[in-house]
């Protein structure tokens, strides 16, 4: 079946070439859920076909993380082996994190990371035939907001779709933070870390999990209302 942008698509559907006709021939970018086969673009996931300028992708439900480079994830250190930490990021295998990829770390001055610590990290390389590699610094070797997550915080999991919605351009988390104070780290691997007063933690988790089935617009409109309602209970 031929499909267009904003249609509901199933794997095996062909994206009709009229969608690409006003773009330069070699300039389209195929995101997740699309593949090129014999010059035609085919869908490989069930969801909704989306377009932003040159980029095409399929928005779908997902719970299992497949690493992709430059994504921010929350990982838990599970092993120390030689010069590397092995970090569980919820993917099919453990990711490796060099102890040198922390700000200010040298061969003599190792970062103080123990097994069981939670880290907010960035995926450096993610190839399907290789182990994913993480870093805790940006391209200027500054740590920025990456690194160790405070043990006072609380980590819980949700679907990957929800984390993407929370980090969308509308910034729903900032709206929720207008009245209550909390610290949050959202990993694109479906893990969320929260550090807040005990009376805020529970309503905040409930609010985030309630947003799961809402669309982006509805989240934008209602998130602060839902949060203040949950705080009163």
């Amino acid at each position: 079946m031929e499909v267009n942008v904003n249609d509901v698509v199933l794997p095996g559907d062909r994206v009709s070439s009229s969608n690409f006709s006003n773009l330069h021939k070699s300039s389209k970018i195929l995101g997740p859920g699309l593949r090129l086969f014999e010059g035609q673009v085919y869908v490989s996931k069930g969801g909704v076909l989306k377009q932003n300028k040159l980029i095409f992708w399929v928005e779908s439900q997902k719970k299992r993380y497949v690493p992709a480079s430059d994504e921010f994830v929350i990982g838990i250190v599970t092993q120390k082996s030689g010069d590397y930490y092995k970090v569980d990021i919820g993917a099919s295998e453990l990711a490796s994190l060099s102890y040198l990829s922390f700000e200010g770390a040298t061969k003599k001055l190792r970062p103080d990371i123990k097994v069981g610590d939670a880290l907010y990290t960035k995926v450096l390389t993610a190839k399907r035939d290789m182990e994913p590699e993480l870093v805790c610094v940006d391209s200027h070797w500054k740590k920025g907001r990456l690194g160790f997550l405070n043990t006072n915080g609380f980590i819980f999991t949700c679907s990957l779709t929800l984390t993407q919605k929370l980090l969308s351009k509308n910034r729903p988390l900032e709206k929720m933070a207008e009245n209550r104070k909390f610290e949050i780290a959202v990993g694109l691997n479906g893990r969320i870390w929260i550090n807040a007063d005990t009376e805020v933690v529970k309503p905040l988790i409930n609010t985030i999990l309630e947003l799961e089935l809402l669309s982006e617009e509805e989240i934008n409109k209602n998130c602060s209302n839902i949060f203040s309602k949950n705080c009163k209970i």
Binding site: V8, L10, G12, S44, K45, Q61, K62, K63, R128
Partner: protein, 217 residues
């Protein structure tokens, strides 16, 4: 043989709920008439070192009957489901991983294998795994007086002498596999195949509506 596009056969009503279980990456409960099946997917996940494949993911299917131990018949269904899944899932996208497909039978009132295949396909769609195409299955039977009945229930199946299940894919609407039991003639097989094929569009439509319902944007 000529069969016009408007078929008189009707499928039993299909109802489903996605995200039925909390832990799996994709799960669904599907009912076709009174036949009910729960399917769940784990993956692409960790896999035991001896089963790792370096060029594609290791796919396993587990079929659980509604009571008792799994018997030879269930193992047969398992391997049939495994073959079906391997033709659908793009296993080459996830090398060195494992994908588990688990099907739990809840109620069997005819057309169980077709219901299981449809449920697996919905669960795969729910898990967001890369797929080549979507498949659906339709069952049919040949009664003692040589009449072909599509999607029969357990009462009709009591008078059957041949039973068939066909799976179709949505790309070119071709047959993927067929599973047959009992006796029937070649022309009966081809007639049942054509009549089931006409109904496959309805199931794909239902899949599409389900995906739309769970992907509000």
């Amino acid at each position: 043989m000529e069969i016009d596009n408007e078929s008189d056969d009707i499928l039993r009503p299909m109802r489903c709920e996605l995200n039925y279980l909390a832990n799996p990456d994709g799960s669904v409960i599907l009912s076709q008439g009174e036949t009910v099946v729960v399917a769940s997917i784990y993956g692409p996940a960790d896999v035991r070192p001896q089963k790792v494949l370096s060029d594609r993911s290791y796919l396993e299917a587990i079929y659980r009957p509604n009571s008792g131990q799994s018997m030879v018949r269930d193992r047969e269904r398992e391997s049939f489901l495994k073959c079906t899944c391997e033709s659908v899932v793009r296993t080459v996208t996830y090398p060195r991983t494992g994908v588990s497909v688990i099907v739990q039978e809840i109620q069997d009132f005819g057309g169980l294998l077709a219901c299981a295949i449809n449920a697996v396909c919905l669960a795969l769609l729910n898990s967001g795994i890369e797929m080549n195409c979507v498949i659906c299955a339709v069952s049919a039977m040949v009664s003692e007086d040589d009449e072909i009945i599509i999607d029969p229930d357990h009462i009709k199946l009591k008078t059957s002498k041949g039973r068939m299940t066909f799976s179709f894919e949505n790309c070119e609407n071709k047959i993927v596999n067929s599973y047959t039991e009992g006796t029937f003639t070649e022309s009966q097989y081809h007639e049942a195949l054509l009549r089931c094929k006409l109904l496959s569009g309805q199931i794909f439509k239902m899949f599409r509506n389900t995906v739309a319902r769970y992907n509000k944007c």
